[in-house]
């Protein structure tokens, strides 16, 4: 701890996280998350944004320890600082995985699944749900359809706090329902999830996640599957709760407008890698002309009100997300990049650009940024 200069405020520090799944059919690794590093400070919202299939959710699941089966490798370090203690959530896990290789081709990977799971469970015990909690997309299917909302929140409260009496837990649940702005909470307690709308279910999920007063809240596409008006309300709610409770949020979404409204810091992911990372005001500032081509493309694909009025076509990014099995020599975004010019083309094809700092705390993986 002496050597590493740990910033006191950092709640979560992920370094060089690699989550690979092994595909027997293709006899290669699917590099879902490839050398990802980021950190979240206390009271900050980090938004991870990118297309589907670029590894956002896998990153979140790796942090939560929810990736449990299948052969593959999770390596790197996930450093969680809680109450002044730093815990590495991946410590010793790689001991249970052995990879046999023969001239670069992988012969066999053996994962002592039982040992691995046991170790993973020990590491995450008392952290999952208590220090880090998570809200999911499609809230209606994330609640058990046969248990009343009140019982489900009470279960979480009884598990993570000193309250052990059911009645007190139900009272606490009612308070949390009020906090997430559900009308007449004492009556809603006895409703089943199917009796609530999607937005209400998401509010219940948020109440459940926050009832343990976590140090970090992971919101995995919290607005997916909801109506647009309700999306706005949920974002408003998260914003308000963040102010009230000084929440630290890892926000995962593909929706730029959600990021714009909530995030303080943004990590743009593409093909399992972070291509741009920095404060929102740096990246979204209209004056700053240096941005990653992918970020620009993402921002451009959001139609403005005028464009909708003029009935213009949506500007989609051409092409598809590259598969994460093939090892690319050059930049992963090269094929779809609109901004490549003759100056950098050769470099782009030959080697993948490194992360370079272009402003204070603003990193980018692009040759265009080099003077």
């Amino acid at each position: 701890m002496e050597k590493e200069k740990v910033v006191i405020n950092e709640v979560l520090k992920v370094e060089d996280l690699r989550t690979y799944f092994y595909s027997y059919a293709k006899e290669a690794f699917i590099r879902s998350v490839d050398s990802v590093s980021f950190s979240i400070r206390k009271g900050e919202v980090l938004g991870i944004v990118g297309e589907s299939g670029c590894g956002k959710s896998i990153t979140a699941q790796s942090v939560m320890g929810l990736i449990t089966d299948g052969p593959g490798i999770i390596s790197g370090s996930i450093l969680l600082t809680h109450n002044g203690k730093a815990i590495n959530l991946l410590e010793g896990l790689s001991d249970y995985v052995s990879v046999k290789t023969k001239r670069k081709a992988i012969l066999e990977i053996t994962k002592d699944v039982a040992g691995w799971l046991k170790r993973s469970e020990i590491l995450i015990k008392g952290i999952r749900g208590k220090v880090i909690s998570m809200i999911f997309q499609n809230p209606k299917s994330a609640l058990n359809p046969f248990i009343t909302v009140g019982d489900q929140i009470a279960e979480s409260i009884m598990l993570h706090s000193s309250i052990s009496a059911k009645k007190e837990a139900i009272d606490a649940a009612a308070k949390w329902l009020e906090r997430v702005q559900i009308d007449s909470p004492s009556m809603r307690l006895y409703d089943y999830p199917f009796g609530l709308s999607g937005g209400m279910c998401q509010r219940v999920m948020i109440a459940m996640a926050l009832s343990s007063e976590p140090a970090l809240l992971i919101a995995d596409e919290p607005t997916t599957g909801l109506d647009v008006t309700i999306q706005t309300k949920i974002i408003e709610l998260l914003k308000q709760l963040k102010e009230e409770l000084n929440l630290t949020i890892l926000l995962i979404t593909h929706d730029m407008s959600v990021i714009m409204q909530l995030a303080d810091r943004i990590a743009v992911m593409y093909g399992g890698r972070i291509v741009e990372y920095g404060l929102k005001r740096e990246i979204m500032d209209s004056n700053s002309f240096i941005r990653h081509p992918y970020t620009i493309a993402l921002l451009n694909s959001q139609p403005t009100v005028e464009e909708i009025k003029m009935k213009e076509r949506l500007r989609a990014i051409k092409g598809d997300v590259p598969d994460t099995i093939t090892l690319y020599r050059g930049c992963r975004f090269y094929e779809r990049c609109d901004l490549k010019n003759d100056r950098v083309k050769k470099k782009c094809k030959e080697a993948e650009p490194e992360m370079i700092e272009i402003g204070t705390g603003h990193y980018m993986r692009c040759y265009l940024a080099e003077g």
Binding site: G126, G129, N138, P145, F146, F194
Partner: protein, 297 residues
């Protein structure tokens, strides 16, 4: 008219949003009502036997009234020893009920445990448990039972214990498929993310809240099967022994007189078998319509 069932995938079925008592239609109620009458009949036979409310002593031989046709004195007539058939049918229902319960409890308990463990854990645990269950399932039930009888000359309770063991694979595979279906659902993942213990997830969220319907239905269907096995064994002479009445041995005892015109001796217990099996099946079917997540057309 046939009802078609469609299993819904990821979303909570609209059907499950309606409270149970409002989901029931006339057909379900008739089925369940009929089943419940059969159950009540069996239960009341115990009370009748204990309180001496039977019309006649089921074991009492009366040689003066042999082979009587049904009349006002003996509603279903008498058999070749002058014993009242109605009384014997009432008491005969006891031959399968308690042993049957034992067999069902064994099948449900071990089947549920095996299904939960193999479905939730998967991998090697699943392979081993499935292998053992397939082994049990691969031998015909009757063969196992007859072999056990040949070796041990056991009582009816021991036979039903074996029947229970042979029923474990059916229950286990049902529960296992349901667990595998539930395991991938979002709310189980969410429960994991909340930090719930695996034990709580398996027993509370999966078994208690989502599988209890299957267990109840399987119990009623199992009872119907048990009746069939018990009566066929008794018919063959391996089950309940004379003079204790059982529907199976009553049919067997009456078969010699069947073509002489005294068909009531065999037919009355046979109809009782038919009605009670039908009753338990309909009870199971009705409960299935009510409790399971299915949508009907």
């Amino acid at each position: 008219m046939r009802t078609r069932y469609v299993q819904r995938g990821a979303e909570v079925s609209e059907f499950s949003q309606i409270p149970i008592w409002r989901r029931a239609n006339k057909k379900d109620l008739i089925q369940i009502g009929f089943g419940l009458i059969v159950v009540l009949f069996v239960l009341s036979s115990y009370i009748a036997a204990v309180l001496h409310l039977l019309p006649y002593d089921p074991l009492g031989i009366n040689l003066k009234e042999m082979m009587q046709s049904p009349d006002y004195k003996h509603i279903l007539g008498t058999d070749f020893m002058g014993r009242d058939i109605l009384s014997r049918i009432i008491v005969g229902s006891q031959a399968y009920f308690m042993p049957g319960l034992l067999s069902i409890i064994i099948a449900l308990f071990f089947g549920t445990m095996a299904g939960l463990v193999s479905g939730y854990n998967g991998g090697r645990t699943d392979s081993i448990i499935s292998y053992i269950l397939d082994l049990i399932d691969s031998i015909p039930k009757m063969v196992i039972i007859l072999l056990a009888i040949a070796f041990f000359r056991p009582g009816i309770y021991f036979i039903m214990l074996i029947v229970g063991i042979t029923n474990i694979p059916t229950v286990a595979s049902l529960i296992k498929s349901k667990v595998i279906f539930l395991k991938k659902r979002n709310f189980i993942e969410a429960a994991k993310a909340l930090g719930l213990k695996t034990r709580d997830i398996i027993f509370k969220h999966i078994l208690w809240y989502n599988c209890k319907a299957i267990v109840i239905i399987q119990a009623t269907l199992g009872m119907a099967e048990v009746i069939l096995i018990e009566t066929s064994l008794s018919y063959l002479g391996f089950g309940v022994q004379e003079p204790e009445p059982s529907w199976g041995n009553m049919v067997a005892a009456g078969k010699d007189y069947f073509f002489r015109g005294d068909f009531f001796l065999s037919t009355a217990p046979a109809v009782a078998i038919l009605i009670s099996i039908l009753g338990f099946y309909l009870l199971g079917d009705g409960l299935n319509n009510l409790l399971e997540w299915r949508r009907r057309r």
